[in-house]
């Protein structure tokens, strides 16, 4: 059973073609890293997949109605601003809006989902803190917990670990990896290729307005792809704890 399938998706923004003829599918139990340089169109591709911007081609998620889509996928946009000083618990609880017509009456299942998501993101004890008073990293974790609390088969997140300290970056990636045990999947854009190689089961590289490569990290992070798309040279090897990726130098073009 596929959680997402995209065929021949093309997106233009302001008359400029951003992505052309993208094909991809995500099945259960995958952590898929979307990589590519700044401006390659990672955010645009994800928003088009969700149907938040108009695109030509097919995306199984964009075809759903809003209510069904909210139960099929949780989306964590790059915007980290929380408008009102609501408590962290209420913030995480917003994820339950996807399942709940009456936001003021949370049931047993809702409270359990909120508790579990907060525990997973290390937010126990933060329940009553106003979300606007959190540090940037704490707020990011609360927003990830919000997406977890939505309890969808697929989570899509735009640079979820940007701005986190190393421990929280790794534990967040670890949490995503743990979701695969239940058959849930994650599609996340990520700039840290080292963590991407380490924790993602699969990488999708975009550049030159298209999907350049899609496969296991070692298949995607080839010297040729890195040079052509990122303009860098890097070291990639298999270590005792998994793949080790280290960027070495910027190539002169």
């Amino acid at each position: 059973m596929s959680l997402l399938s995209v065929t021949q998706l093309s997106v233009s923004l302001g008359g400029r073609c951003v992505i052309r003829d993208a094909d991809l599918a995500i099945g259960p139990g995958e952590v898929v890293g979307l990589i590519g340089p700044n401006g390659a169109g990672k955010t645009t591709l994800m928003r088009a997949i969700l149907g938040l911007i108009s695109a030509s081609g097919d995306s199984s998620l964009a075809d759903l109605g809003e209510t069904d889509r909210a139960r099929a996928v949780a989306w964590m946009p790059q915007e980290r601003h929380v408008a009102w000083p609501i408590s962290v618990e209420a913030l995480v609880g917003l994820g339950r809006l996807a399942h709940n017509r009456w936001p003021q009456r949370l049931g047993q299942a809702d409270h359990e989902a909120i508790q579990q998501a907060m525990t997973r993101m290390g937010l126990a004890g933060f329940e009553q803190r106003p979300a606007t008073e959190l540090s940037a990293g704490e707020r990011t974790r609360a927003l990830i917990a919000r997406a977890l609390a939505q309890q969808t088969p697929l989570i899509m997140a735009d640079e979820p670990i940007a701005g986190l300290d190393p421990a929280h970056q790794m534990s967040t990636m670890q949490r995503f990896a743990e979701l695969t045990a239940d058959g849930r999947s994650v599609l996340l854009s990520i700039h840290d290729l080292g963590l991407a190689a380490r924790y993602c089961t699969r990488l999708i590289l975009i550049g030159e307005q298209r999907i350049v490569a899609d496969g296991r990290p070692a298949e995607v992070l080839t010297q040729d792809n890195l040079a052509r798309i990122f303009g860098i040279e890097a070291h990639l090897s298999d270590g005792p704890d998994g793949p080790i990726f280290q960027p070495l130098r910027v190539l002169a073009n």
Partner: protein
């Protein structure tokens, strides 16, 4: 939450009763309330049923409208400085009223003025829907509202500027200060359907406004149809604000201050703020309308002047308290 709502509702009912009992004709409270239900053939029954009752009901409706519209606007725009006048609806309603006064339509028949004001509000809402209704983010909505407000206020100034009739000019100036004096049950019946429909539309936005706390993209992905939410907000706010301005003139600061004041008591959740703020707005206008009758009974102190006089210092105090978190 339920405790807060019950508390506000009790306070509102108390002030509604007080509003019925306070007036230039000094009558005992029991007598007054009895006259409210008596057949309207005694002078006392007339005073109660034709003067005080519409005034109290209008205060409740207008205040509730402004509080609710303010909370909804702030929730949608994610900005504590948003207020009901921001869409330019009250400005265009005022323009309609001013034209009615200037042209003599207001003097020709009793509902001429509120009907013209409703017409103005309708044109305002058409304009804003064309400019920002279908697509475009919150910024285009704010900018369109500012442009419509500025245009309406320039036209009002133009009418005042060119008016050959000093009586019409002073009537316009006084009308714009906002008042609930000398209104009749006709005013209530005229505004009530608009206020009811608009209030239902705005109250139904609670869930969507909660989701908007995380931004438009996240709200859309949480299952909200943001374009539909925006349309409902514009039309709902236009109905309640347009009808309120038509019967009471422009009453400032209620829609700005009341949501701000009540936000801490609802855990800052925009959805829960809607009913609380509607009750709070009704309380503030009922109170202000009692005060204008008590403070200077002879001078016809205008309601809008008093709400701004209470509202502005209250707002300054709030800013002083919260400037650390606003920064």
């Amino acid at each position: 939450m339920m405790r807060l709502i019950s508390l506000l509702a009790l306070l509102m009912l108390g002030l509604l009763t007080a509003s019925l009992l306070i007036g230039p004709a000094s009558i005992g409270p029991v007598e007054s309330l009895k006259a409210l239900l008596a057949p309207s053939d005694t002078p006392l029954a007339l005073v109660m049923q034709e003067i005080r009752l519409p005034r109290a009901i209008l205060a409740l409706m207008v205040g509730g409208s402004l509080g609710l519209a303010g909370a909804a606007m702030q929730g949608y725009l994610r900005n504590p400085l948003a207020e009901p006048g921001l869409l330019g609806i009250s400005g265009s309603a005022a323009l309609g009223a001013v034209l009615a006064i200037q042209s003599g339509l207001a003097a020709a028949f009793p509902l001429g003025l509120p009907l013209a004001a409703l017409g103005g509000a309708l044109i305002g809402v058409l304009l804003i829907t064309l400019l920002a209704g279908k697509q475009g983010g919150t910024l285009s909505l704010i900018l369109a509202g500012i442009a419509i407000s500025a245009l309406a206020s320039a036209m009002v100034s133009l009418v005042l500027n060119l008016s050959p009739n000093p009586f019409a000019t002073s009537e316009i100036v006084f009308w714009m200060m906002g008042s609930l004096a000398d209104r009749s049950m006709e005013h209530v019946w005229l505004a009530l359907p608009f206020v009811l429909i608009g209030a239902v539309m705005l109250l139904s936005l609670g869930r969507a406004l909660d989701a908007m706390t995380l931004g438009e993209d996240a709200a859309e992905a949480l299952g909200m149809h943001v374009a539909r939410v925006r349309r409902r907000l514009i039309i709902g706010a236009a109905l309640v604000v347009g009808a309120s301005t038509a019967v009471a003139g422009t009453i400032g600061f209620v829609g700005l201050v009341v949501p701000h004041l009540l936000r801490p008591f609802v855990g800052a959740m925009p959805g829960r703020l809607l009913p609380a703020s509607a009750l709070g707005g009704a309380i503030m206008v009922l109170l202000a309308d009692i005060l204008v009758r008590v403070i200077l009974p002879e001078a016809d102190l205008k309601l809008g002047v008093l709400t701004a006089l209470i509202g502005a210092p209250l707002f300054l105090h709030l800013i002083y308290q919260t400037r650390r978190t606003l920064a």
